[in-house]
């Protein structure tokens, strides 16, 4: 698939947002990936054309970052965190089950082209371990059963809701969102996305009568404090 003139115009628009155009290369590669489901040779040529770089220079950048795929990704990208915290709490088991049942290894895509499976490192959601992502949207507090259900829904085209984000769309749609070329209208999904884990400390503080010390925001207490000097 060729990169359309419209896409090239969008690439130029991203580059123009930075004091120096080359700074836009990562979002631009996300945009290229959103068109073809991976970073193709033509995609890199298009980026090189806009930035006045060689294709080799663009390829050097594209191949450095693990989110940029050099081969086509399935309609959905499903990732399982296997970094020790998630892995030990159950992520390793989830990975084994999904990999077995889908019959694909790390980076493999199911025969129907629906799901590409990947082992990933820490997703910055350790309090919600084990963690997965679908098209990079959060799927917190996973279990084997939930993981199985999510994958079968994605393959069947049924809706899957991110635990801290929107309904899962597609790998390409996420790549377009990441490029920032336009507002995808999903920023409000899930309110402030405060999980029980994010609220754990606040709830303890409220239950035990510990007041917020921020003077403007609530009843500041001058006598109570965390003073440990």
């Amino acid at each position: 698939m060729a990169i359309a003139e419209e896409t090239k115009a969008e690439l130029a628009e991203i580059a123009a947002r930075y004091p120096r155009a080359r700074s836009g290369i990562v979002p631009m590669l996300h945009l290229v990936q959103s068109v073809e489901g991976y970073v193709s040779q033509e995609g890199m040529q298009a980026v090189a054309g806009v930035l006045d770089l060689t294709v080799a220079e663009v390829a050097a950048v594209a191949t450095f970052y693990t989110m940029f795929k050099m081969r086509p990704v399935g309609e959905h990208h499903v990732a399982v965190c296997v970094n020790p915290q998630c892995g030990i709490l159950g992520g390793d088991r989830i990975w084994e089950v999904l990999s077995d049942e889908l019959g694909v290894g790390n980076g493999g895509t199911t025969d129907d082209g629906k799901v590409t499976l990947e082992r990933i490192e820490c997703q910055a959601a350790c309090t919600n371990a084990p963690v997965m992502t679908a098209d990079w949207e959060f799927l917190d507090n996973m279990t084997v059963e939930r993981a199985r259900d999510i994958v079968s829904r994605l393959r069947a085209g049924d809706p899957v809701q991110s635990t801290r984000g929107p309904l899962i769309r597609s790998f390409k749609a996420t790549a377009r969102s990441l490029s920032g070329i336009e507002d995808d209208g999903l920023a409000d999904q899930g309110g402030n996305n405060a999980t029980d884990e994010m609220l754990a400390g606040l709830r303890v503080a409220q239950a035990r009568g510990m007041v917020s010390p921020d003077g403007r925001s609530s009843n500041r207490s001058d006598s109570e404090s965390g003073r440990v000097k």
Binding site: P19, F68, L89, A124, V144, L178, N193, R216
Partner: protein, 438 residues
């Protein structure tokens, strides 16, 4: 009886309000009122205020924030830049991502003040690419702030201009290292650079640049609003202030806990509902996989930068990972070594080659196929990486094994004859019932 340290929700104070992430939700509790205070003070006095507050970098290194700002030369005629490091990728770290989701405007307000102080008219938030919802949340918040007149030209009639660009990475732990982040932001492979020159002198596009962590900058508006002495009233003399702590792993109620520095892990464990029922604490890491492990005997060490170093570890990101007696230390360490191998950028030979050797040996320990000699060989490799790479990733990779060996040598010795899976039931470590029941 010693008094327990109370929690002090500031950044997290309104996360129970579903609109805490919106402009309205933020302004309801005093949001953006610190701007006029900062503009009235002027850049120099704002830096002095932050210095006086004692705020230290919350990304892990703990460098004094006000001092970092003061290193930016003034009147040099070059553009200055503020770059916020939102690349949170350290295993165990899970504070900046929730903070940007639930309270993005605190970061923006802090960025306006910081940029004003260092005289930057262009600021960036660099967020790891794997969190699209956080990126769209930040972008939407920047737009809201712009529409409300807090960004753009002549902010609140101060004559100060600022534009913020929210940009993203694409999967590279190394880009959390400040010079690698700058390389990435300039559009190159995320390779670290030798320091000096430090970013304050030659950062983005070789111009003076301040790189600060998300939590650091988000704390700034509260300090400006309430005063330096309000902030440094909390914590200890050398580690003043309030910090986002997290507890993850084998506890009953894992989560985020905002508290003064100096709180102990025993107190945090209590707030997190204790070790999961029927189990006991085996080892814990105070702030990421790049800091040496601690044991139950360290539960009463104050969580400050200095006390953690004295205990042989580091505070790091203050996001603790907790493991109970079902977990093989060897397996956990091998997992982190696999991570560093995966994430080494390849620039420096000791890190590029050493992380592969370490992982290979670690796998032998997990499989029960290591030799006695491997115990020292692994240590040798670590000492050959430590201090011999451009950036801290090499040092971090060399950290987990020697730290764990200190307290769990016996377990590594067992790795010379018995697989970890034969010593520990991996199923018992899993936190969801459905698998354990099988």
């Amino acid at each position: 009886m010693t008094m327990t340290t109370p929690l002090t929700p500031v950044l997290t104070a309104h996360w129970d309000e579903p609109d805490s992430y919106t402009l309205d939700g933020y302004q309801r509790h005093g949001g953006y009122t610190s701007l006029s205070q900062a503009f009235a003070l002027g850049p120099g006095p704002v830096i002095d205020l932050i210095k006086e507050s004692g705020l230290r970098g919350r990304g892990g290194a703990g460098f004094p924030t006000g001092m970092k700002w003061s290193f930016v030369p003034q009147g040099d005629g070059k553009p200055h830049y503020l770059v916020v490091n939102g690349d949170e990728s350290e295993p165990g770290a899970c504070k900046d991502i929730p903070l940007m989701l639930a309270n993005p405007h605190a970061l923006i307000e802090g960025m306006i003040i910081a940029s004003f102080a260092i005289r930057a008219n262009h600021a960036f938030v660099y967020i790891r690419g794997e969190v699209p919802h956080v990126i769209r949340r930040m972008r939407a918040a920047v737009k809201q702030a712009h529409d409300a007149g807090y960004l753009g030209r002549d902010i609140l009639g101060s004559g100060f201009d600022l534009d913020i660009v929210v940009t993203c990475g694409a999967g590279a732990y190394i880009c959390g290292e400040e010079t690698a982040l700058l390389s990435s932001l300039e559009g190159f492979r995320g390779h670290p650079r030798l320091k000096p020159p430090f970013p304050a002198v030659a950062g983005l596009y070789s111009c003076p640049t301040v790189v600060n962590n998300v939590e650091t900058i988000s704390s700034v508006p509260y300090i400006v609003r309430n005063g330096a002495s309000w902030y440094n009233f909390f914590g200890t003399v050398k580690s003043p202030g309030i910090k986002l702590f997290a507890v993850s792993g084998h506890v009953n109620n894992p989560g985020i806990f905002e508290a003064p520095l100096g709180i102990t892990m025993r107190e945090l464990l209590d707030y997190a509902g204790g070790i999961r029922d029927g189990h006991e604490l085996k080892f814990w890491l105070p702030g990421g996989s790049s800091v040496p492990v601690l044991t139950p005997e360290h539960l009463d060490v104050p969580m400050t930068y200095e006390d953690m170093v004295a205990a042989g570890t580091m505070l790091g990101t203050a996001t603790a990972m907790v493991f109970d007696e079902t977990v093989s230390v060897v397996r956990a360490i091998a997992g982190w070594l696999a991570f560093y191998k995966h994430e080494s950028c390849g620039k420096c030979t000791p890190c590029r080659e050493g992380t592969w050797w370490m992982h290979q040996l670690a796998q032998d320990f997990v499989a029960g196929k290591a030799t006695e000699e491997d115990l020292t060989k692994l240590e040798d490799i670590c000492s050959n990486i430590l201090g011999r790479s451009f950036c801290a990733l090499g040092d971090a990779a060399a950290t987990p094994y020697p730290g764990a060996l200190k307290y769990f040598r016996g377990e590594f010795e067992q790795g010379t004859h018995t697989p970890a899976a034969g010593l520990f039931d991996e199923q018992a470590s899993i936190v969801f019932e459905e698998v354990r029941a099988k």
